[in-house]
């Protein structure tokens, strides 16, 4: 027989169980909308699957006749483990699986079934000790209080302060503690046989989850979140760089080594400015070379031109191009650019690759990260531009992103001077991208450049560029004036020094 004290403690148990269950559900819904976007659909699916799974669990409970207390504890432990690792496991699996949505909903279903088994079993355990009406009212009261606690604390406390991964692991631990504790509360109902082994299993679950919680830093990097200023929905350390995708406001953002690469809300301004001036040469472009631009967004713009026969994209990091191919929000943003048969991805250092390539191109789009280190700085040297020139047809057009001419004028004009010194004719232009500010580009060609061409009227889908906007980009305002700089060479790498000075001095 259970005594009075354990009975009230069992209500506390119900409270915790209810909180944990709802937290797992909220985690799944949040994670799905972070990663897959479209939060209404994701939450709706997750809630639906979860509730129906609970129904399945409740229905299954009728088939459990014996050892109710032991089965209840087993379910607690299973739930602790599964719920606890749900968020980290889903985050880890995301870049590698194509069937992410089924995986997530499958996990939600199993968790739902286990949660659905809990209360019927607990009520049957308690029914010998309480009136039925009393039992139902108390258990359900604590259940709903738990749900309220979870739904309030989840967005206010847990997500902002712990992040999804730690919240998941922390509630798994809480769930496991309840399971282990129940072996003592329900001791009178448990047979001695196998009790130690049950407790050992509980202990193992707790240790596993605690270790994961301690290691969670490597996964979530709360510090990184606070630096990047958004919730991290994906982050990877590839052999080349740290890739992080955050969600903030309406859009999501890509960071490489902590440097913002684009914000989905205004990247169209940047990519239309970067790509179209190079596509409007005297002949319709056929062979396009994109250097950098592993996000696939420049590819998307190039693919608007039916004359394009092939696009070769050279990006160092397979983790980056892989993400652009599979990460759902990014794939949507780049219109599944990498699935187009005309696109060929080369994962190599462009500096090494360009010396070995033998194709000649009509258009080259240079979208490297800013020259913040020597390894990237070499891609802005006269050596590189000379090698590039050898890969271009005489009337080819090149556009290049060259950091902010307002914040870093020496860096901007150094890039232009280096191209000029490598035999390119060059014309500076700029566009405003709210996430970046005023941004600098240049149009270049081995041949002298003519007037700014009008847009091709058959190209649709442009949001930023009009003929007027195009001309305006090439009209430099008064605060963007050429400054004298050295030419960036392999043996001086002066650009990295300019860039470091200009971006790190107080603005």
């Amino acid at each position: 027989m259970l005594t009075r004290a354990p009975l009230s403690l069992l209500y506390l148990n119900v409270l915790v169980i209810a909180t944990c269950g709802l937290v797992y559900e909220l985690l799944a819904g949040t994670l799905a909308s972070y990663v897959l976007g479209d939060s209404v659909t994701q939450f709706s699916f997750v809630i639906g699957v979860y509730l129906s799974a609970m129904g399945v669990g409740a229905w299954l409970s009728r088939y459990i006749h014996d050892h109710l207390a032991r089965v209840f504890i087993e379910i607690e432990l299973a739930l602790a483990l599964l719920g606890g690792i749900s968020a980290p496991a889903l985050f880890l699996a995301f870049p590698f699986v194509d069937w992410f949505a089924p995986l997530l909903l499958g996990m939600v279903f199993v968790i739902g079934v286990l949660v659905g088994l809990e209360l019927p079993l607990l009520m049957r355990i308690l029914q010998e000790h309480l009136e039925f009406s009393d039992l139902v009212s108390r258990v359900l009261t604590f259940d709903y209080i738990g749900a309220l606690l979870a739904s309030l604390l989840f967005p206010i406390l847990f997500v902002p302060h712990l992040g999804l991964v730690r919240t998941s692991l922390a509630f798994g631990i809480l769930n496991g503690v309840v399971g282990l504790w129940s072996t003592y509360l329900l001791r009178p109902l448990l047979s001695a046989r196998g009790l130690d082994r049950l407790r050992l299993r509980g202990g193992i679950v707790l240790v596993l989850l605690s270790v994961a919680l301690l290691k969670a830093d490597q996964l979530t990097l709360l510090a990184e979140e606070s630096v990047l200023g958004g919730s991290i929905i994906h982050s990877t350390q590839s052999p080349f760089q740290r890739i992080a995708i955050t969600r903030k406001g309406k859009g999501f953002q890509l960071f490489l080594n902590g440097h913002l690469q684009f914000n989905s809300t205004d990247e169209y301004r940047y990519h239309e400015a970067l790509v179209h001036p190079a596509m409007l040469g005297s002949k319709p472009p056929e062979k396009v070379l994109i250097l950098g631009g592993g996000d696939g967004l420049a590819v998307r713009e190039c693919l608007r031109y039916p004359s394009v026969q092939s696009i070769t994209l050279v990006d160092l990091d397979p983790a980056m191009t892989g993400l652009s191919e599979r990460f759902q929000p990014l794939k949507e943003l780049n219109d599944a650019a990498f699935s187009d048969p005309r696109v060929r991805v080369v994962n190599d250092d462009a500096f090494v690759w360009i010396g070995a390539d033998d194709t000649t191109y009509d258009v080259a789009i240079i979208d490297f990260p800013d020259p913040s280190n020597y390894s990237i700085g070499k891609l802005y040297t006269t050596r590189f531009y000379r090698l590039l020139r050898e890969r271009l047809k005489p009337d080819a057009l090149v556009t290049i992103q060259c950091t902010s001419p307002v914040v870093a004028p020496k860096s901007y004009w150094c890039i232009l001077a280096s191209m000029q010194s490598s035999g390119f004719h060059i014309r500076p232009f700029q566009a405003t991208v709210p996430s970046f500010g005023i941004w600098g580009f240049a149009l270049a060609s081995p041949q002298p450049l003519g007037d700014v061409p009008p847009l091709d009227p058959s190209i649709t889908g442009l949001r930023f560029l009009t003929d007027e906007a195009m001309r305006a980009m090439f009209e430099l305002p008064g605060d963007i004036r050429q400054v004298a700089t050295e030419v960036n060479r392999l043996d001086n790498q002066i650009l990295v020094r300019y860039y470091d000075e200009e971006w790190h001095e107080p603005q």
Partner: protein, 575 residues
Amino acid sequence: MSPNKHVDNLVPSSRIGRVDALSRRELLQAVLGTSSLALTGCNRTALPQAGDYLAQDFALGHRLRDPSATVALPTDWQSVPVVIVGGGIAGLSAGWRLLRQGFRDFLVLDLEREVGGSSRSGNSGRFQFPWGAHYITTPMADNVELIELLQEMQIVERLEQDGSPIVAEQYLCREPEERLFQNGTWIEGLYPALESTEDDQRQLEEFQLSMHQWSQRRDADGKRAFTIPIARCSTAEEFLKLDQLSMAEWTRQQGWTSARLRWYIDYACRDDYGLTIDRTSAWAGIFYFAARLRSDRSESQNVITWPAGNGHIVQYLSQLLKAQLRTGQLVYRISPTKPGRAEAQSAQLQPADDHKTESPVYLTTLDGQTGVVRGIAASRVIFAGPQFVAQRVIDGMAERRALTSNFRYSSWLVANLHLSARPRASGFPICWDNILYDSKSLGYVVSTHQSGIDHGPTVITWYYPFANVEGKLSRDQLLRLEWSEWADLALTDLEQAHPDIRQLVKRIDIMRWGHAMIEPGPNFLWSDARRSAAQPLGAVHFANTDLSGIALMEEAFYHGVRAADEVLANGVRSH
């Protein structure tokens, strides 16, 4: 562990001192010079599974020292107008010069299976890496012959108005060039600037100003005090007297007491000469800095380098000389008479008063692979090897033995470490040249730096000069340490800066260079002995860096070209 040692055939082990009596800690102390290193908890077993243990071909070369080794008399004789003995930079440059002057009827013989001498390089399939010399300095306008070679190699693209070469960007050492590991972090440059005082800085500036002034000094005839090659340096007494004292002593005389400045100069001496500051001639010490400064510029002449180091030049020249090159050929006797004749015992090559000697020279060669002995009768020989070898090979060198008795050569050890990824480190990013402040080694160069391969596997080349061999281990004992001992020494050294190096290293190949570089100690460079040694002996001409007293590619090249010009001046004719 069974490292693949493919050349390890030195003297019998009974002659080796009691190296094994040293504990690992004592060994680290003796070789790397830092006791604290020995305390780090790494263990000997953490070595890669593979590595070659290489040395110059002692087996073949050793027959020269061994008087009891009798070699059969050649039965097969051929006549070749000119024979170059030695396929290092000096010998190859001599061949280049002959070809360039339209003379093709000559042979280049080298003892080793691969030519290049101390400018050789290795190749792992994916990467090339140096085994020794790994850079040259952009030549000044007056070094016309070297500029010609570099133009031919398309390293120099064109010339400025004053004749100064403009080097193709991809061959100039890519920035960032050098970093130094000091106080647990990497800093840019070579000077140990961390925690330096104002006085340190002042002395550094004084030193730099002084070197700049030396670079501008000229004698009454307008010859520069310091330039490359040293044959073009002024011989005015005011400059040559610097050769009488050590660089350490000269530094003291200038009132420079800064330990950091001393380290910086000492590093330069060890780097270029394999000698510590107190064993380097002050003339040579100043030469290191001043000869590379153009008088009208504040910065040193740019460094030219390749992934294979100076092996790049070797590859170019040996391709050019494909028809003339014979490798694995030991020249064990050069004589004025045909071996086997009665007079062979008494005849000696005589110093040539006039160069127009008509009598031929007889070379006896042994093919290292087949053991076949051949004879070559040559009108002229260019002996492009060091003097201590010349003495064993050439009849008539006895009198010159006294002349070259003060020629000393430094020994080196070079390890190529094949890494699976770049080592982690804090501070300034990885450079071409990476130096450790607290070490007797010279740190390492990164073979992939110049090709712009900045991620993933690489090969780094670790240099260790036996600069100041004293105490428990002699130079010969150091050369006879086991592969595993040297591998451990290199890793322990690098571990100070890269704690993860043992996990990254997949293979360590080690080369021992015994007596590889001439030592410019005090009173050697400007001794009569050095200059006299370059004089021809009969029809034998000499070309090697020891005739300069400074082991630079540019000096080897100078002597090769000079010897070729001497030979051509004699009007040798093709047969």
